[in-house]
Amino acid sequence: MKNTLAVILATGALLLAAAPLWAHHAFGAEFDANKPVKFKGTVVKMEWINPHAWIRIDVKGDDGKTTQWMIEAAAPNALLRRGWTKNSLLPGTEIYIEGFQALDGTNKANGSVITLVADGKKLFVGSSAGDPGAAPGAK
């Protein structure tokens, strides 16, 4: 399956970018910095759960087969404070994701860069209230 997906499982391409701490765990405890992934997927659902939201996406491989991946996203309450709600990323939305696969080799990855296929914009950018944290649900 992995060969048929537009998945980059590059080895040796360690991206040692500054890695701010995920609040609830270390990146390296869950994900493998030697397994970057990059693909297009269709949102099945976004789980607004603590301590981190997860986005389930269907990824279609070159062979036409679809595989589901789970992408770790932000703390949901931080997104709520920036004005995003459960209606902000609906099933069927196409997204590009770049991140790193789970250490255990399952179809999970962190979301380092997520953009919308429709307009190329980054997911969950900005604060609809103009004040991070000021206006929950304002979007």
Binding site: L15, A17, A18, A19, P20, L21, W22, A23, H24, H25, A26, F27, G28, A29, E30, F31, A33, P36, E47, I49, N50, P51, H52, W54, M70, E72, A74, A75, P76, N77, A78, L80, R81, G83, G99, F100, L103, D104, K108, N110, G111, S112, V113, I114, T115, G120, K121, V125, G126, S127, S128, A129, D131, P132, G133, A134, A135, P136, G137, A138
Partner: protein, 345 residues
């Protein structure tokens, strides 16, 4: 939906009242002074206690270190220039948060996008959260404390993960302890204060603590009764709420954001002071006295502010804590890979 909260009439009235009562900058904030119109008076509850009710946040000191950088010496407050620089950094951060497209040469880092977090709204005036001792540094630890095991926190990329019990109480969604539940971290800093006759309750968003504090002078519970968040007793000193908390379980959480670091002991005694200094600001101080851990007590302080529309959100944590499963399965995968490598040799 934009500015939804400001659309409600009660909110507009409340905001208008705040501006009418507080034409001067809130204490602790930078800005030009406007001419005073009417002095602020400390609100009282219907039964005559100082009124601290509302949802407060320590967001403004997000990013300010617990310990002071050595170059600041004994100086607690930033100079005007340093404050302006910090303001400039915040403004730059906000601008970056609003950039909607990915730069062509941008590489995926291992951290989350910056625009997914929460930010300070104004620069913290302090050089450190520790306000005493004068050097702004955590006092030395006693030898027996230095050897105390520290549970695996978010700072270790290759944690010992034989069991979920190797991880910190925060990572396990159990508790952050008292200081760790109020010290500013990158998100979830909400503190809702609710008062009733004879009681104050503080509801803390992240990990969802509810501290119920009796004010009626009752003695502390028996030393045999111990808990993660301790046994709190409060009283008023003028307009200041003073809360003394003892009866902690030892070896659970430490004195940093989210309760990380060397765990404190069962001898820990905390004395907190909540002083409302304006309509939207409480000056918070906590004295940490743990004679089995530190050579002397020390004090941490910072502002808590009220922000328009800010509220606590639900924080069911354990149910969705996929990170715990993934960290344990990740450790098993590492072990398997190491065993396979060893077998090949």
């Amino acid at each position: 939906m934009r500015y939804r909260y400001l659309k409600s009439v009660p909110t507009l009235v409340a905001v208008a009242a705040i501006f009418a009562l507080n034409p001067e900058p809130i204490t602790g904030q930078a800005g030009k002074k406007a001419p005073a119109v009417k002095a602020w008076t400390h609100p009282e509850t219907p039964w005559g206690d100082p009124d601290l009710q509302g949802t407060w946040t320590s967001d403004d000191c997000i990013g300010t270190g617990l310990n002071r950088a050595a170059n600041f010496g004994d100086r607690l407050y930033l100079t005007e220039q340093e404050l302006a620089d910090r303001q400039g950094k915040l403004a730059k951060q906000l601008k970056q948060d609003l950039v909607e497209t990915v730069a062509e040469n941008q590489k995926a880092g291992t951290g989350p996008p910056g625009h997914w977090g929460e930010r300070a709204r104004r620069p913290c005036k302090q050089t450190s959260l520790i306000i005493d001792p004068p050097n702004g540094r955590t006092p030395d630890m006693l030898p027996e404390a230095k050897s105390r095991p520290i549970p695996e926190g978010a700072g270790n990329a290759t944690p010992k993960a034989d069991s979920w019990e190797d991880f910190s109480y925060y990572i396990r969604c159990i508790t952050r302890g008292v200081p760790g539940s109020i010290f500013p971290v990158i998100y979830g800093n909400g503190q809702q204060i609710v008062q009733g006759q004879g009681f104050v309750t503080i509801l803390q968003e992240m990990v969802h603590e509810a501290r119920v504090i009796p004010l009626d002078g009752r003695p502390h519970a028996s030393p045999n009764v111990r808990s993660y968040m301790g046994d709190a007793r409060g009283h008023w000193e003028g307009k200041t709420l003073v809360v003394e908390t003892t009866n902690f379980l030892g070896n659970r959480t430490g004195i940093t954001g989210n309760g990380g670091g060397t765990p404190t002991s069962d001898a820990l005694k905390l004395t907190e002071r909540f002083t409302r200094v304006g309509p939207d600001e409480i000056q918070y101080e906590i004295t940490i006295d743990d004679p089995k851990t530190y050579v002397r007590p020390f004090k941490v302080g910072f502002p808590l502010t009220q922000e328009p529309g800010y509220q606590n959100f639900e924080y069911a944590c354990h149910e969705g804590n996929n990170a715990m499963f993934n960290s344990l399965s990740g450790a098993r995968a590492r072990e398997k890979a190491a065993a396979e490598t060893a077998n090949k040799k």
